[in-house]
Symmetry: D3
Subunit: 325 residues, 6 copies
């Protein structure tokens, strides 16, 4: 070390750097031990002390990859890789589908085996069922693409700010949510409710639109803006329906005579008939029916059925005694 260098260093005090750079001991052994105890407690309290934990669950990351691949396979030039050319569209679609379907098969096996264990059944038959479900799902994709095309056209027609169908597909969160929903709904009906729910929540996180995969939705469906939309498990929505941000199609839960334990699976969300429009912030609760062609105004709170062609606004409701104005 040169003279000049050591001069430069004169001002530096020697030792205390170590005070911090010395590796800290976190008592990891003890914390790991306590976390294991916490897990053991949980498992014994939920009756799965023996072995359930040793089996794999479906993976959210895997489902994300599958859905992204399916989006590309369904709309290759617009949601596929950026350099894709028409000459190789089919190659891309075939290769991508192959990956997506095999990965979906793996996830489906995990869900079916998990479900069998939950029911206390043997898991053995699950794998063949998984194959059949994925095969049916694959066969349904062309039909789903046609359905989604109707949604894209509905979005373009329904928004004065939309410049092209391509912009709609590239940008609109409502379209993203509907693509995920239509795929998730197929899985839900095929017997994979957990994968379906994961797919729905991926869209929920990206868009703020929360559609339960059980909801039935007709063609040409359009959600504008979308943040805060909630559509419940047993909702039934007709064709050409349009809804805006913060609309809820929910269950009416707090009736006076409830026992505190709702029956699962019971129809408890609204039926929305064809050609209905529901503006932002409207809250529609319970198994009621919005008649064909009705318009529901912004921020309306609605808990009873309305006939076809109704035009419901806050002002309208205010004239009805006892209404939640």
């Amino acid at each position: 070390m040169s003279k000049k260098l050591s001069a430069d260093l004169d001002g530096l005090t020697p030792t205390p750097l170590d005070a911090v750079t010395k590796p800290v001991n976190w008592q990891l052994e003890q914390i790991v031990e306590q976390l294991r105890a916490a897990r053991a407690e949980w498992r014994s309290s939920t009756g799965r002390a023996r072995e359930l934990g040793s089996r794999e669950l479906p993976s959210r990351a895997a489902v994300e990859n599958i859905l992204e691949a399916l989006c590309g396979a369904l709309f290759p030039m617009r949601l596929g890789p950026s350099g894709l050319r028409q000459e190789s569209e089919d190659f891309y679609v075939g290769h991508t589908l192959d990956n997506a379907l095999n990965s979906l098969l793996e996830q489906a096996r995990l869900e079916l085996r998990y479900a069998a264990r939950q029911r206390g059944e043997v898991e053995a038959g699950s794998d063949a069922v998984a194959v059949q479900i994925v095969r049916d799902f694959a066969a349904a994709l062309p039909g789903l693409r046609r359905l989604l095309d109707s949604d894209v056209i509905a979005a373009f027609a329904g928004d004065p700010a939309a410049r092209s169908v391509d912009e709609v597909l590239l940008c609109y969160p409502g379209i993203l949510a509907v693509i995920h929903h239509r795929l998730a709904h197929h899985l839900y009906r095929a017997g994979l409710p957990l994968l379906a729910r994961i797919a729905a929540e991926i869209a929920h996180s990206a868009t703020g639109i929360d559609i339960h995969p059980g909801a039935q939705i007709g063609h040409s469906f359009f959600i504008d803006h979308g943040t805060g939309v909630v559509i419940g498990e047993t909702a039934v929505i007709g064709n050409r329906v349009r809804i805006y941000q913060a609309v809820t199609l929910g269950a009416k839960r707090f009736t006076a005579d409830e026992t505190g334990q709702l029956h699962k699976g019971q129809a408890r969300h609204p039926i929305v008939e064809d050609d209905v429009v529901i503006y932002a912030g409207a809250t529609i609760l319970g198994r009621i029916t919005l008649g064909k062609g009705s318009t529901i105004g912004g921020n309306v709170w609605l808990t009873r059925s309305v006939p076809p062609g109704s035009n419901v606004t806050q002002a309208t409701l205010q004239h009805q005694p006892g209404s939640p104005g």
Copy 2:
């Protein structure tokens, strides 16, 4: 294989593993064929059977990278890479800008060529226009940084929970949305509405704040919490305006005499003058004006103009006959 090993294996039955691990045939040829038919149908139905599909659209992933790079170039010590030091700040800024601008140029060319094809024009002139737009955009960045500094200060001043201007820039979703908006708005005005919309939707997805890139917003703008905010394409917002979560500055669409086909581009969203505050959940619809210095209360539903200095709350409105209280 040792004696001991074969003993261990006695209990294993030999064949059925293959039942599942045999590769499944998905009938890919057929599905790919059907998907191609669905695309062909779509293309012919939208009048682009010949060749449009063979050209590239802008890429959302590319726009995400560009925006992240621009955030770093605008606020290097706070949104740039974690180890950045002041000595090399300019090197980082210059290198990052260079990457971001060249990538933006590529995306701009894609949008302009796409737009030319949509209009049935030749694409040839697009590239030189793209260069000019990006050059102007680059030159505007220092001014945009100053504008954003005013927003950061407004956020710090407007939220009692804010501890420092740095916390605001690192954490607040409203700031993230405003950075994206100011960049997107420049692109929108420069003739790149699709890139602008993609940029806006990236922020929408991350924050739940949905600002159309066409909206004009003055300096020192602050959105707190933000989830569910919607600001429409033709909204005009003055200086020092503050708004809270779930506020809508929207169009009033459902007038009795509408023809079902709104003119695109028409001014249809509110004008919010300087120093207005709008609390959470307020819905402001139509081309109305909120006068300078007004305060709009939470959950208020407002469809007509109010003079400067107004203080509008639900209670106030309830006394006005016919109001949507």
Copy 3:
């Protein structure tokens, strides 16, 4: 294209390929210079012209990694890596914790040093404090896991659509938000409010649920759907509370006599006692108390306390003169 722009383009030669493929000059030197000037202006205007910028702030990306690792360490079989097996659970937990805690230590040092500079103090003692905070945080994890187990059970019990506790943990955004909140709240109380806020905003971005890390929340807490929920810094929530999407527990800011400068840290958000249920869209403002076991209906606007066992709906409120119905 504006007059000025087309003028600029006049000089372009006709062989257009080169026109574009020739590298464009963006005047980077000049823009970088101007951005530096803008930063200098900002720094001098906020009184940190000398050197503050040369120090590092905590990194959002680092906090994201830490939280993801902690989620895995807390719930290894459900939020850990997909192939994990029970035999190596503890190895995974220990290794992951070690990485997470060391990374947290680094971030904690950055925040404490930053805070010391903000206060004009020397940074020297910060590092030892950081070690102690992280050590305490590590020791608290087993307790936090037990608390979170109560939340998972509450979610399962509270949603008729939930099929299993595992589905809840894998899918429900409310659970994700609560995990982040409980970790962030510990950091907040330990003296790391900036890291805590970053953690909270990560969850906010993913779920649309905005819980300030200062909020105190009892066990068995459940948020359903969640988009648009806002819970303020000084809110206090009891045990077994259930809330739905778009509920606000906020501050009542626009009293007539305000001076425009609220005291920071003052208790200004609601107290929600045990066993309260708050339905979607309800807005609860100010330091009021919702008595034990009360039910607050959807879209209710509430700014005063209610006694235990209350059942508040829009209809109820409408009968009270002056209420914001």
Copy 4:
């Protein structure tokens, strides 16, 4: 550019930008078709037309990951992740081993099934065998670590330029090759010659040292520099042997009476007894024995056995009539 080529280009239009940016058609359909035909030809010519191609082979990338993980698990503080601390060494080792062993199990299954198909046998029993092989491999790791420690010490002792045992482990290609060899040799003997060979070639590519996994090598083995070393399948090397770059321990293939078809598996490479040193460039061919403690000089060409304690140099050999000097 050939005549034919320039002819092809005559038709190109003069606006050159489009000439190139127009997507090129590569006649992919046709090329893919022809490649399929080439594969079909190959498969039929090698007698596997029916189905062999539809099954997976082991993956080189997977083996690379497994070996990197095993290096880390064997030498955690020196070949493991850079931030590892002693407190969490065992956690890291356990977690890493778990990943490596499960991944190895998958690769072992692929090789055993492949081998069964090659032999025309059913694949069914393969999986249980794979489990047993990997279990034995895992159990052998502590012993392998001790053996490798002897190699590290031999390298440190044998090279005057070595500064520390840690430098040896971090830097010396000979050590890298020996680690790979000892692991590969275990797999080779356990019945996984393909995985073993892949592992050996990974080291060969990184170091230029080509050790067949079948070679038997005693403890305290050291290869210096190493590029160009070749050690054959049936070579047997004693303890404390040291060799330098470009040494070959090969088979003597070109005897006058050969039939052109060597029997596979026959012992055909040298036996090197304890404490032998072989200097750079020496070529030792055939099933000869280098007696204990011998020294073989640089560039020597040796095809017959030498007694213990020999000192063979080029000069020595030149005096022996008929020698290949």
Copy 5:
């Protein structure tokens, strides 16, 4: 901070940590300036001061990706992705080829434009030539696959240690080198010598086998072990040739009458006729011919032609006066 904590910290001295953690100033401005001066000097000394540096060269990373993709497209089940199934083989091949060819087109344009600039020509025609070259290359792939199949069979036949043709393709460095060479040689002849050289060096780095892309090599070629093999630009190799590690087919450069300036492109490397075997370490120099069916022994040094059927060993040569024995 609690009493207990501060007690723990008593022993820590406060300040000097900063001594090191203070960001160091590297005088970057000055070093960057000096590096710019060094580049300017270089550019002016090599006559390219004006603008050459502003254009892009081909990228080694891009060529690596292209070659890896082509390996997969040529041998999908063995060098393609690990999960590939026969049903989707063609989809994978088509999609991968498309990516590889478009990327190759980009690199070819860069080389041709670079070469035009080097020659002082305009770059304009380069792009159409690039298209034609890549189209021809694509059309040649099925033929190249058949040629490579002959090499795989030769390797399997030539090595007693080889267990299957698949092992050869997965493991043997000689095969990797030959695949790269056959692709590189096509590019070399098509007028892309720089891309060809990059491809050759990628294989050289991975295998230690250095084949100049100009070398002409017949079918059924096999290199065993391979490290240190060098084959020169104008070498001509017949069918069914087999060579071992460290063989050189080089130029004889140091003749007495050389002028120090060899003519580029002159034939200066050996011609190796059909069915020749060359054992390890042999050095063959100059434009000599090894007659059909000859065998060249290990470490032989050979600078004159040998007739067909020769069997050359060191011993043989030693009997010839003046030979380099």
Copy 6:
């Protein structure tokens, strides 16, 4: 499950799938325990039982990143990122240097602290020394760039196959090795022999060229092909030297009177004066001098000095009695 589906499944036997898919228990606890014991044994046998293992060593991956960055900073348009343009060259260089130097500082601190521990000294002063070393290294880069330019020109002049200086820089392994050597040699002399050695081995692995970082090499140095070259620690090479593949400049180790323990650091490798050429495979051993302008033929074995202007070939040597011909 539909009738049709269950029919399809009839042939599947139910249970044994589990036999394999059941997670295997590897006895990890036990293996981890045994590996810990092996490490403890090693540490105690090498006298570092107490604590050495708890400190970090330099990281090969980090050094790889540093060297790649430095290559880019030294030759930005040719070894930097592919899209770099001249306008932003300095920004790229400055930003990249900053990252590389800070990362190098970290690695230098690790080596110096490690070395201090090895010597039994306190580590405290190491950090300031590291800063000074890296600062000097940074200041030396412009000079190193000029030196490397001389090497590039020498390679271009020395190889008849080279087409341009750019091809040389992009493709030639000899250039890559020399860049790494010149950087490593600076670190070696500055007191960081471990980092220097790691850098040298990175080049060795990529090129097969093994230059000890201690070797002193003049300007305009060229290695052609390069595989198998070995240059020892104390070698001294003049200006304008050219060497070919498989040349060794080594130590002559096996003298009759050796004690088995060579003194470390002693000058033991050749001195090669200016303008010497050494052809492929030559082996030069011991502290001998090759006089200025000499030519050493291929495969020559040389262990004594030769005067300036010598022309040494195998034939020449053979006439000298006792020579290793």
